[in-house]
């Protein structure tokens, strides 16, 4: 059973051999040109794919619709390849890899030519962790900014974000506003913005509060095909005020459907985001060439009927497996099965593609808590208000992990 399951990694492996060789061919040809003369700029106009460029709101920056979330990347060669493709907007942060992420990006852009690309970095406005409730003072924010600029080997960033705003009052805090204005005035940041991952009302309130100030030029926000309408409407309001919108977490969940169809759901999910007219660019995180090839495959496409169908199938496939952790099922089991943890075990495998972690989590449950009871249960009464077939999933977990 395990061996037959098609995971994202296996799928990509197959895709690499069977389907994406042609795109890799194009990409690596340009890399080859670069190798021929290491001092030459890595991309020539002829080698660029037909990248789609959009204006990032009031900034006027012409950014590639497919941009690059650098956070987890360890290999600079992937950045060179992205530059070859015409990707020109790179997103990092002060805290990623404790600054080594900014250093890597700085090294690459120094070779490639700083002036040809846009750098976005983020400074955390709160002090360390501490429940993220204590805001930094302006002086320490400025010190962080100086450090980031040194790592990036540049005098300025194109967009500076206040990182991970999870309190709607932060964007209107005097010290935050003063810091942002000073960074713009001194030329250390051409434009400023906020990034936020929050959910529900906090998300909407954050947008509306930030819009009141008229200081922020760009919003970096979670957006995917599962985003609630309230979030989408909030971003539309921002775009109507000419705020640039950068989408992140665009391929929610990372799940692959059980049955394969001809199109890749990750691509459809990304295309869905790029088809929102209020979105200027998306920054999927990429760690290797295959992901870059996969994501670049959506450029130039329009979300057609078949893509919508793919996405619908994808959503259908995951919604029966994706536990929303509402807890409503727990009391419905007549045994003491830990449904929540077993769902989590499955998510580690199916969502994060980490079979070992899934198995380990499952095996930490006692025999009273694991799904052994489900294997013997002939009259399951457990039920999920979101439609997950709990007893089937429990049995599946047991046969998979035990």
């Amino acid at each position: 059973m395990t061996g037959k399951k098609l995971t994202r990694r296996r799928f990509l492996r197959n895709l690499t051999v069977a389907g994406t060789c042609s795109s890799l061919y194009v990409n690596t040809l340009t890399a080859g040109h670069a190798l021929g003369n290491p001092h030459k700029k890595y991309a020539s106009k002829d080698n660029k794919m037909d990248m789609e460029y959009r204006t990032l709101g009031r900034t006027g920056l012409k950014v590639s619709a497919l941009s690059f979330g650098v956070m987890r990347l360890a290999e600079p060669a992937v950045l060179f390849e992205a530059l070859d493709m015409g990707i020109n907007y790179f997103d990092t942060a002060h805290s990623y890899q404790r600054g080594n992420n900014e250093k890597m990006l700085g090294d690459v852009l120094k070779q490639y030519g700083r002036e040809k690309v846009f750098i976005a970095t983020k400074i955390p406005p709160y002090h360390k962790r501490l429940g993220m409730k204590r805001l930094n003072d302006q002086k320490s924010l400025e010190a962080k900014m100086e450090k980031s600029l040194r790592r990036l080997q540049t005098d300025y960033v194109d967009v500076l974000f206040l990182h991970n705003i999870n309190d709607p009052d932060w964007p209107v805090h005097d010290e935050m506003l003063s810091f942002c204005q000073k960074m713009k005035k001194t030329g250390k940041a051409r434009f400023v913005g906020i990034s936020f991952h929050s959910a529900g009302k906090t998300y909407v309130d954050t947008v509306d509060q930030a819009l009141k100030t008229d200081v922020y030029d760009v919003f970096l926000a979670t957006l995917n095909y599962k985003s609630p309408k309230a979030h989408i409407d909030a971003l539309k309001r921002a775009r109507n005020k000419n705020v640039g919108i950068v989408a992140m977490k665009t391929q929610a969940g990372g799940y692959e459907p059980g049955a394969r169809e001809s199109l890749n759901p990750h691509q459809a999910a990304l295309r869905w985001v790029l088809d929102r007219e209020f979105v200027d660019c998306a920054i999927p995180g990429m760690v290797n060439r295959q992901q870059l090839a996969e994501n670049s495959g959506v450029i130039g496409m329009k979300m057609g009927w078949s893509h919508r169908k793919t996405l619908a199938v994808y959503y259908d496939a995951i919604k029966e497996r994706y536990c929303l952790r509402c807890g409503a099922c727990t009391s419905s089991c007549k045994n003491a099965v830990d449904i929540h943890t077993i769902h989590r075990s499955l998510m580690y495998w199916e969502g994060y593609q980490d079979f070992e972690l899934g198995r380990k989590t499952y095996r930490e449950l006692s025999t009273a808590e694991n799904a052994l009871a489900c294997m013997r249960c002939s009259t399951p009464v457990c039920r999920c208000i979101n439609g997950i077939k709990i007893s089937e999933r429990m049995r599946y977990a047991h046969t998979t992990f035990i």
């Binding site: 990694r9 990509l12 492996r13 690499t16 051999v17 060789c21 890799l24 061919y25 690596t28 040809l29 890399a31 080859g32 670069a34 190798l35 956070m71 987890r72 360890a74 290999e75 600079p76 060669a77 992937v78 060179f80 390849e81 942060a93 805290s95 990623y96 890899q97 404790r98 600054g99 080594n100 002090h127 360390k128 962790r129 501490l130 429940g131 204590r134 990182h163 991970n164 991952h197 992140m248 995180g285 760690v287 290797n288 060439r289 295959q290 992901q291 952790r325 989590r344 998510m347 580690y348 994060y352 980490d354 070992e356 972690l357 380990k360 989590t361 930490e364």
Partner: protein, 318 residues
């Protein structure tokens, strides 16, 4: 007759007895393993409840715990990074001075499941210039921050301290945590694949997601060497089976050939090996060995790379 039966039955009893013994041993072994795991977990909890804080400090609320589904609530997008390295749980707590004031210390212990994962998240965050603090297996930090790894744990201690005479607290707390974390101080054994001679200290990395940016070299170690005055990089990728390792070499060869790079046999290294040009990384040599694929890149001299590769291949054990 009775004697014959006795002789006939005895071997059966012995078999059954042996079977029971084996089953008992297996059960004991599993129980021991389980108790070790739970002991490790309880030891982590005990650090917060019984060992910390150091004198002069008090806990601020209860210890907190995060798992992969909600880690991003705590460390935002950084959560993806930890999850990719097998993150299991984070246990942490905040402390403040008994004397009052705004100062604070935050201690976060990440359970990464095994030594290699803990090493994997530690190394890229390390400042290569920063000296080791001799805490745990590896460490770096300053007056207001310390990070270290020990066994399956990665630990970060961050402070907000205004009182100069309290600056020592971050290292004191780190030493206290390191001393009481379960496990040992040894490095992951995968590091031993790489010969020590000419290796650049601190350059070792555990990569998940693609060595050289190749998804087909998804997981493995890389480190840098200085050979004949030039920096080269060596890698060992890990695979679940011999077949997977062979397939990875073929994928690599196919990728390079599509890039119009000739893949030539690597003389003296037999099947499933080649020498070619890797985009952005000069000359590369690659060889599959068992469930591993090893290689050296950024080479200007193939011969120097071959000596290093041979040294690595000698160290590879499944």
């Amino acid at each position: 007759m009775h004697i014959r039966l006795l002789f006939k039955r005895r071997p059966m009893r012995l078999d059954a007895g042996l079977g029971y013994c084996i089953k008992l041993l297996v059960v004991l072994w599993i129980l021991t393993g389980a108790s070790v795991v739970s002991a490790a977990e309880s030891n982590v909890e005990a650090i917060f409840t019984a060992r910390l804080p150091v004198p002069g400090w008090k806990p601020e609320g209860e210890p907190y715990r995060y798992v992969p589904e909600n880690l991003y609530e705590y460390i935002n997008g950084g959560a993806d990074y930890f999850i990719a390295y097998g993150f299991i749980a984070l246990t942490g707590a905040n402390y403040s001075p008994v004397s009052g004031g705004m100062d604070s210390v935050t201690v976060d212990i990440y359970d990464m499941g095994d030594k290699l994962n803990a090493f994997g998240v530690f190394q890229p965050r390390r400042d290569s210039q920063a000296p080791s603090l001799n805490i745990g297996t590896g460490s770096f930090g300053s007056d207001d921050y310390v990070a270290f790894h020990k066994d399956r744990f990665y630990v970060e201690i961050q402070t907000y301290i205004t009182e100069k005479n309290e600056k020592r607290v971050v290292k004191d707390m780190a030493s206290m945590v390191a001393a009481h974390l379960p496990g040992d101080d040894s490095l992951p054994h995968e590091l031993s694949y790489f010969p020590e001679k000419s290796r650049i200290a601190g350059s070792e990395r555990y990569i998940r997601g693609g060595i050289l940016g190749h998804a087909f070299l998804d997981r493995g170690m890389v480190c840098e060497y200085r050979i004949e005055g030039k920096k080269v990089t060596a890698f060992v990728a890990f695979f679940p089976s011999y077949r997977d390792a062979v397939m990875a070499v073929e994928h690599h060869r196919s990728f390079l050939e599509k890039s119009e790079k000739a893949c030539l046999p690597l003389e003296g290294f037999g099947m499933h090996s080649f020498v070619s040009e890797e985009p952005f990384h000069k000359t590369i040599i690659v060889k599959q060995a068992g469930t591993f694929v090893a290689g050296v890149y950024d080479l200007t001299s193939v011969e120097a790379g071959k000596r290093l590769l041979m040294g690595i291949l000698r160290n590879l054990t499944p």
